[in-house]
């Protein structure tokens, strides 16, 4: 065996993203941002049943990862799943409809915010059990391998899921069997109302490395970086070289859920402001587009107006859409 030190330093050419790609990323991220702001409004206006966990602040992760996936690749998602769902290709109207419990929703109103699934875009579902989807993602990867389909599965979860034993059980098997699954840990610093450092001993990356899994820790607010890393890991997995763990540092700008507005007892206004002013992934991409002269303010405003109009239309559709027929209550219990 060659001594590891003797390996030639791999020198990847850092290619500049194309204008088309960058603008596409921007549209996707902004769509998530405006979608979530609208969800908050629906909550504040008492138009949405229950609660929702907003993805605002983390957009670069969902978009960076999902843009590295094919449409037929799989994702599994979390209670904070709207961003993943949109990034994988779901449409806003049917998502709003689901959030409002309408029959036109992706799950005919049966799932709601925490369970949106969209088989057509490979989204195997949000999950309201922290860490609950790690097995499903790993199983989907195993299935892809067994079927020889060369699909890849991306498993999104918050750093809180590091507390759940299931994750370690399935990472072990993914590593043993070289399954094409990417574990995407979105470290937004908090498990609900507790800083993750109070719940997480040792180093996050080491937890996956211990299972022989290729692991990277990156800044999750830079969509180009997330995308480039994801591409490498996804293609690696697709080639049969096994699972990877992508640890993204990020931040949720809003509360744990829409009702969590008094946050001072667990995190400072100053910390929030710092992230919002310096590490807003949407702003950062807008700045990058400016700097690299790919878009000016006018174009970005125009994009925003387009998306806002689209969202407005979609939410209107959802508000007006009918509820499911009451008889549907005991349909779909069994296939």
């Amino acid at each position: 065996m060659v001594h590891p030190k003797a390996k030639p330093a791999s020198k990847k050419p850092v290619s500049t993203p194309s204008r088309d790609q960058a603008l596409h990323f921007y549209r996707q991220m902004l769509k998530i941002r405006l979608f979530e702001e609208q969800v908050n409004q629906l909550y504040l206006g008492a138009k949405m049943p229950g609660l929702a966990h907003l993805y605002i602040g983390q957009e670069a992760v969902a978009v960076g990862v999902c843009e590295a996936l094919r449409r037929d690749d799989y994702i599994t998602s979390t209670h904070r799943g709207h961003g993943h769902c949109l990034a994988k290709g779901a449409s806003v109207d049917r998502m709003f409809a689901e959030l409002l419990g309408k029959a036109a929703g992706y799950c005919r109103g049966k799932g709601g915010s925490m369970h949106i699934a969209d088989q057509d875009t490979g989204n195997l579902g949000a999950n309201a059990i922290v860490g609950g989807s790690a097995g499903i993602a790993t199983g989907a990867a195993m299935s892809a391998k067994m079927r020889g389909s060369d699909q890849v599965a991306a498993c999104f979860f918050g750093e809180g899921a590091l507390g759940q034993g299931l994750l370690y059980e399935v990472m072990n098997m993914a590593s043993l069997w070289k399954l094409p699954v990417i574990y995407v840990c979105e470290n937004n610093q908090y498990n609900e109302y507790t800083n993750y450092r109070e719940t997480t001993a040792g180093e996050v990356a080491a937890r996956a490395e211990a299972f022989g899994i290729h692991t990277e820790t990156i800044e999750g607010q830079d969509v180009h970086l997330v995308h480039a890393k994801s591409l490498t890991l996804v293609e690696r997995a697709r080639r049969g070289e096994g699972p990877a763990f992508l640890h993204c540092n990020t931040y949720r700008f809003h509360g744990h859920h829409v009702g969590d507005v008094d946050r001072s007892y667990y995190r400072s206004k100053k910390e929030e402001e710092e992230w919002k002013s310096k590490r807003d992934p949407v702003k950062l991409l807008a700045e990058w587009l400016h700097k690299s002269e790919m878009a000016d303010g006018k174009l970005l405003d125009q994009i925003e107006a387009e998306i806002a109009a689209h969202i407005k239309e979609a939410v209107q559709f959802a508000l007006e859409a009918p509820y499911p027929d009451p008889n549907e209550v005991n349909q779909h219990v069994y296939a």
Binding site: G112, M114, H115, T194
Partner: protein, 342 residues
């Protein structure tokens, strides 16, 4: 949707009472027991500064410090196992499992370990642990945050299971649960936390295993658990208009179950409905209904009816979810049919 009405049955108490919420009653019980016994501590996700998402534990960490009100990682099985180990070695842990649906993650530690250790050790080791969790739907929380899985635990020898319906009962039963030398699973209906009721200023406990007649009646017995006690009481109110006198029995603990009181009531009224918010099939209503059907066989004028939650995963959409839980109207309907009033 459940609309818990307030009914009090504290009759022969001379001590002063005040109106407090179900959540406050839980909080008081914990604070009193922690003050009384240094071995009692609380562990769970966001139990300290956050005081749980339902704010049930607010203030406890200030009173007792973060060594006794312990924020844990999201390790539901882990904290249950740690609770069992601490309980076996001189402490009296109260493990907080945020949603009853998450007890699925604790089943090995709770059922194979905590529940069996006393027996497997031939009576030497004890596991005086309380696991507090929630039940109940209609909160628009969908299938993984709305289940009422107390039937499972009630099935397991070695566990005790508490399903209180009022602030008064919750406080007195939780104190008994903490003092009990066995693992006790304590189910709180999420929708009842803000429900107020009279609670004595002075200390009291309620023994585990004693049901409570929440309303006396002579024509039909409504046996209910937790939130469904309020549905039964509302149904009883409605039935009065149809000249049906319903007796409402709150079982308070599904294990041990106060069979005698339930059977005696059914013998007296000759009719019974059992109402519970768990899935109906193989649920709590089955056990209680079959006990009545057997124990009061020669007294029954009509079959014992069961009304549990609909046998479907709890749907998100309000128009669907509201159909899954028994309502007072539905209970009253069934009762009238059984009593031939229509």
């Amino acid at each position: 949707m459940k609309a818990p009405s307030e009914h009090s049955t504290i009759t022969n108490t001379v001590t002063a009472t005040r109106q407090i919420t179900f959540a406050q009653a839980i909080n008081e019980a914990l604070a009193e027991e922690m003050r009384r016994d240094p071995r009692v501590f609380v562990i769970g996700e966001d139990v300290a500064e956050a005081g749980t998402p339902f704010k049930v534990l607010s203030g406890l960490v200030d009173a007792f410090g973060s060594q006794r009100v312990i924020d844990s990682p999201i390790s539901v099985a882990g904290i249950t196992g740690i609770g069992a180990g601490a309980a076996m070695t001189g402490m009296r842990p109260v493990v907080d499992i945020m949603f009853g649906d998450f007890i699925t993650l604790t089943m090995d530690q709770l059922v194979n370990q905590a529940a069996k250790i006393h027996y497997m050790s031939g009576g030497k080791l004890k596991v005086p642990m309380v696991l507090r969790t929630t039940l109940g739907a209609t909160r628009r929380s969908a299938a993984q945050h709305s289940q009422s899985l107390h039937a499972w635990l009630s099935h397991i020898p070695g566990l005790k299971v508490v399903v209180p319906s009022t602030a008064y009962d919750a406080k007195g039963l939780l104190k008994s649960a903490i003092r009990d030398d066995n693992p006790v699973v304590f189910f709180e209906d999420k929708m009842m936390y803000q429900l107020k009721g009279p609670v004595p200023v002075d200390e009291y406990t309620i023994p585990l295993g004693v049901a409570d007649v929440k309303r006396a009646g002579s024509d039909i017995t409504l046996v209910a658990t937790s939130s469904m006690v309020h549905i039964a009481l509302a149904a009883a109110d409605a039935l009065q208009a149809s000249d049906v006198s319903a007796e409402v029995i709150d079982v308070r603990t599904t294990s041990p179950l106060d069979k005698e009181m339930i059977i005696e009531s059914a013998k007296k009224t000759s009719r019974a409905i059992v109402i519970d918010e768990g899935y109906e099939r193989y649920g709590v209503t089955a056990e209680i209904a079959s006990i009545i059907a057997d124990g009061a066989f020669y007294y029954l004028d009509a079959p014992v009816k069961r009304m549990g939650a609909m046998d479907v995963p709890v749907p998100f959409s309000p128009v669907l979810e509201d159909q899954t839980v028994p309502t007072a109207e539905a209970v009253a309907e069934v009762a009238k049919r059984l009593c031939n009033k229509r």
